[in-house]
Symmetry: C2
Subunit: 215 residues, 2 copies
Amino acid sequence: MNDRTTLRRYPDRGSHDRETIDAIFREALICHVGFTDDEGRPIVIPTIHALVGDTLYLHGSVASRMLRTLREGSDVCINVAIVDGLVMARSHFNHSMNYRSVVVFGTTRLVDDPAEKQVAFEAIAEHVAPGRWDDARQPTEVEDRQTMVVAVSLDEASAKMRTGGPHDDEADHDLDVWAGVVPVKTTFGTPIADPDAIRDVELPGYLREYRRPSS
Amino acid sequence: MNDRTTLRRYPDRGSHDRETIDAIFREALICHVGFTDDEGRPIVIPTIHALVGDTLYLHGSVASRMLRTLREGSDVCINVAIVDGLVMARSHFNHSMNYRSVVVFGTTRLVDDPAEKQVAFEAIAEHVAPGRWDDARQPTEVEDRQTMVVAVSLDEASAKMRTGGPHDDEADHDLDVWAGVVPVKTTFGTPIADPDAIRDVELPGYLREYRRPSS
């Protein structure tokens, strides 16, 4: 932990608890990665992630701008945010959102060890759908070379969240304004089989009633 | 448009069409803002946004780190990403996600004109729930001073998206692997009234069966 992950405002909303941080990373499908270009200007790109122990893995095509920029030793900031509710207060000023969020500051490490790269590939596949790794066709050597993996340590990570109802000023409680929370959820529809399929394959159990692990 | 928003990989997935860009901003509840700290290191923070014409407004407490850092003339990169589906291919390599995303590169302008600040406040309230602005208590002068608003122009914006089923290699089509898409949606639950309410206020029509405008 350093100054950047010291929780500033609303410290009651913040946490350095690893279980909390891990649960948010597990539930979120994607994260947003911030880095800088050659001229020091910020770039933010959404991407999939996977957590293995204390290491967050990101991957992509060796041709992608993000991966070409994120070489060994790049400073990154990774944010994950899950919106849980729209908090309607009586005053506009006290409107808010319920959310769970993690921010990680770190330095990228290029993963070139084949065994570690394999661990990352598996973790990313299983992050999306546990059970998928063993089911789909494994990467070939060529596909492996076309994919870049970077690792970021969770050393500097913190979670921030808000739950509960609106916090209105005492004087506003008697206003004729509805106050409360509109719950927000990510939901998953019935899987749609590839219309171009040439053989009939049964929908695997791990995709039936698909849902994220909830924290 | 400049080099940064020139669409590189998969140009068929990209668009500079303003209707497409606006629709994604309208539907997304939050965006991720990337900027750099005093030492040039990247920071990414999730926040609410609102679009008015060609201007994107962000707001927050004058005490927040983001708003304290985002002074007049800061370089920012703003990304909005909506995940629409998990694309399960027969090979791990061809797994993907369906999504709609916008990236904006720009320079912040501090909004200190009271009339424009009011426009931004209203746009942000209406972005979350159209109808809310006239219903809730307006900001006081003190609340106005405690809130900072920055504007970013949409001059350098581009959308990127993926739709449809998996694109597998010809040779993989005969594998015994289910392929298709798991649809992903953001849904909204029944609004929960503030348990601390001291008067009974009817749920307003604009929060009944709440949903985002869809693009």
